[in-house]
């Protein structure tokens, strides 16, 4: 009796696993097979043309909204622009800590800045010394400080 119960339990476990596996496909959106793209793909595609304007070891400040369609544009920019460094323009904590330890000093006003979205455009309007160095995209403009 116990042996039969064990075999029945194993069969039930297989059935349960099969039902669960099939049900999990209902949570999936199969439209990606027809080229639905997530936010990282969209932002990366938008920023990619700007990469050619950057020297490889540049330090680029970032000004703008940190959320777009579920992604952080600054972090996607870091992914696209590597090996350039992207840094938060307005974060003094990291800058101060690195300076205190004698590490490489991060500039307060980087020569290059990536501006993103409305917030970035407002910052650019208030900083006329920065001029675009590559054709702007829908949301992003890469600017350099005039010497």
């Amino acid at each position: 009796m116990r042996a039969r119960l064990r075999i029945a339990t194993a069969v039930a476990w297989l059935v349960l696993a099969s039902v669960g596996a099939v049900a999990s496909t209902f949570d999936e959106d199969v439209t990606p097979l027809f080229r639905r793209r997530d936010c990282a793909v969209q932002i990366a595609a938008e920023l990619e043309p700007l990469r050619d304007a950057l020297p490889p070891r540049a330090i680029v400040g970032f000004m703008g909204e940190r959320a777009y369609d579920g992604c952080d544009p600054m972090m996607v920019a870091q992914y696209v622009f590597a090996p350039a460094w992207i840094m938060e323009q307005d974060w003094d904590g990291l800058r101060a800590a690195m300076r205190a330890r004698g590490d490489q000093a991060l500039p307060r006003d980087p020569a290059l800045v990536l501006v993103w979205g409305e917030e970035g455009r407002a910052w650019l309007a208030a900083h006329p010394r920065y001029v675009p160095i590559a054709p702007p995209t829908e949301h992003a403009t890469l600017v350099a400080r005039e010497p």
Binding site: A21, E28, V30, D38, A40, V41, A44, M75, P83, M98
Partner: protein, 470 residues
């Protein structure tokens, strides 16, 4: 598309040969097992080894190089010719009616998993958040930066955890270099390899020890866990580390079955060191593995057995552990704002580290939060089983009963892992603890294949004759 596929496959030839040679130094597979076990498991093991060698290549020559892995490849081929490893015995076959029932079930489950994997992989060309924000971003640094590759681990990239170990991004950068461009198929294909290899290793290990029916049940339980399959497509390092954790214990189980030689313990040590080089969690699990296994070896065979196993494990782990130490001492940075291990009083709400830890440990809200998070995720980590998987397994074990098999050490290692992890969250995290412990879902998935190995080795197989009726 075809060019990308050829480039990606080209990057997998040497790892496959290296991995298969490593396995064949210890034991030969025969027949179908060559395709279902040796190839996927060898390839994943080889990708880990070549990823570690790629990082060493960056340290030595500032660029991706295949010279080190080719040197290892020829050494292994030479050693293979001088080794007469025993053949692995074919597992006991299950009854015909079971095979006829399990076959369609396997097709349904694997088919559904393939749909889930493909849907996730096609949506996210660059992987999920941590993939493009941490792993693939760092791989791009390594591939693009030339002599400046160390910039990938700079504190400036504080949000991307510049102290995370280098194996996975080095392996992806190696794939980019061999494909000739930054194909998004490199990390996707590697994720698929590790997903398949994890299932194959679990199936083969349980099958060898407990028969084909039990092996099938173990493998299909893992494949039917949606969160595991989704992570196989996320391009994160969680499935690779899950494979290395599983390999550590699986090779120990094979060592116990073999009863002679120490080759499997060397492979277990190698796998543990590759886990260490993949994510920081590797260090926590390594502590659990060593403590748990030392206790078991000492109890079963005294100091002599402990010494034999420890030296073999250590010999396998030493090269990887040395590389990990080199990375941690020379290249890794712990960012000032990092949520764990914060070294700067500014980020401890103005108090010193010791006072910060004491305050956190004395806060009952954090302990309650920790318990709440465990309660939630232990029942919810699978992300889609018809019943919570942990609960289902508990009922399954109660019905099936357990065998008298000597313990492998999985339960002890998991208990130590859970204890260290919980204390770390309570004491060090600066975040609201329940929110921060959402990471538990991924941490549990890292250990799910190992837990399933321990579970299906311990519970009675469906067609097993009880010990008292043999």
């Amino acid at each position: 598309m075809i060019g990308a596929a050829v480039g990606v496959l080209a990057g997998m030839v040497v790892p496959a040969v290296i991995g298969v040679c490593l396995l064949r130094l210890v034991a030969r597979s025969e027949g179908r097992a060559r395709l279902t076990f040796e190839l996927p498991v060898g390839l994943a093991l080889g990708l880990g080894v070549t990823g570690a060698l790629s990082f060493l290549g960056f340290v030595i020559s500032d660029r991706p190089t295949v010279l080190l892995e080719l040197g290892l490849l020829f050494a292994l081929l030479w050693a293979r010719r001088r080794t007469d490893a025993p053949a692995l015995l074919a597992p006991e076959r299950s009854p015909g009616w079971w095979r006829r029932a399990a076959g369609p079930a396997a097709l349904v489950i694997v088919g559904a998993a393939a749909v889930v994997w493909a849907s996730e992989a096609w949506t996210m060309d660059h992987g999920a958040w941590d993939a493009w924000d941490i792993w693939n971003m760092r791989a791009r640094f390594l591939y693009r930066a030339g002599e400046g590759w160390e910039r990938a681990f700079a504190e400036t990239l504080h949000w991307a955890h510049p102290h995370y170990p280098p194996l996975w991004p080095s392996a992806v950068a190696r794939g980019f270099a061999l494909a000739g461009h930054e194909s998004t198929w490199v990390p996707r294909a590697m994720g698929l390899v590790f997903t398949v290899a994890t299932v194959a290793l679990l199936a083969a290990t349980v099958t060898r020890a407990r028969g084909a029916a039990q092996g099938t049940l173990a493998a299909l339980t893992l494949v039917a866990t949606p969160f595991f399959v989704r992570h196989g497509a996320s391009q994160y390092a969680d499935v690779p580390i899950a494979f290395f954790f599983l390999a550590t214990f699986a090779f120990m189980a094979w060592h116990d079955e073999a009863r002679s030689g120490r080759g499997f313990m060397v492979l277990a040590g190698l796998s543990a060191s590759l886990a260490l080089l993949t994510k920081n969690e590797g260090a926590i699990v390594l502590v659990g593995v060593i403590a748990s296994r030392a206790w078991i070896a000492g109890r079963r065979g005294g100091r002599a057995r402990l010494w034999r196993e420890a030296t073999a494990f250590g010999a396998g782990a030493l090269p990887g552990a040395g590389l990990w130490l080199l990375f941690k001492l020379s290249y890794a940075h712990t960012a000032v704002n990092y949520d764990f291990f914060v070294p700067d009083p500014v980020f401890h709400h103005g108090v010193g580290p010791m006072e910060f830890l004491t305050t956190q440990l004395n806060d009952p809200v954090r302990w309650r939060g920790m318990a709440t998070a465990w309660g939630r995720w232990i029942l919810d980590f699978d992300d889609g089983w018809p019943v919570p998987l942990a609960l289902g397994l508990a009922v399954y074990a109660a019905v099936m009963g357990r065998t008298a098999r000597p313990p492998l050490g999985v339960a002890g290692a998991l208990a130590i892992w859970a204890l260290i992890l919980s204390l770390a969250f309570v004491a060090w995290s600066r975040w609201e603890i329940v929110d921060h412990m959402d990471a538990l879902q991924r941490l549990i998935i890292q250990l799910l294949p190992t837990a399933l190995l321990g579970f299906f080795l311990t519970v009675r197989a469906p067609f097993e004759i009880p010990d008292d009726r043999r």
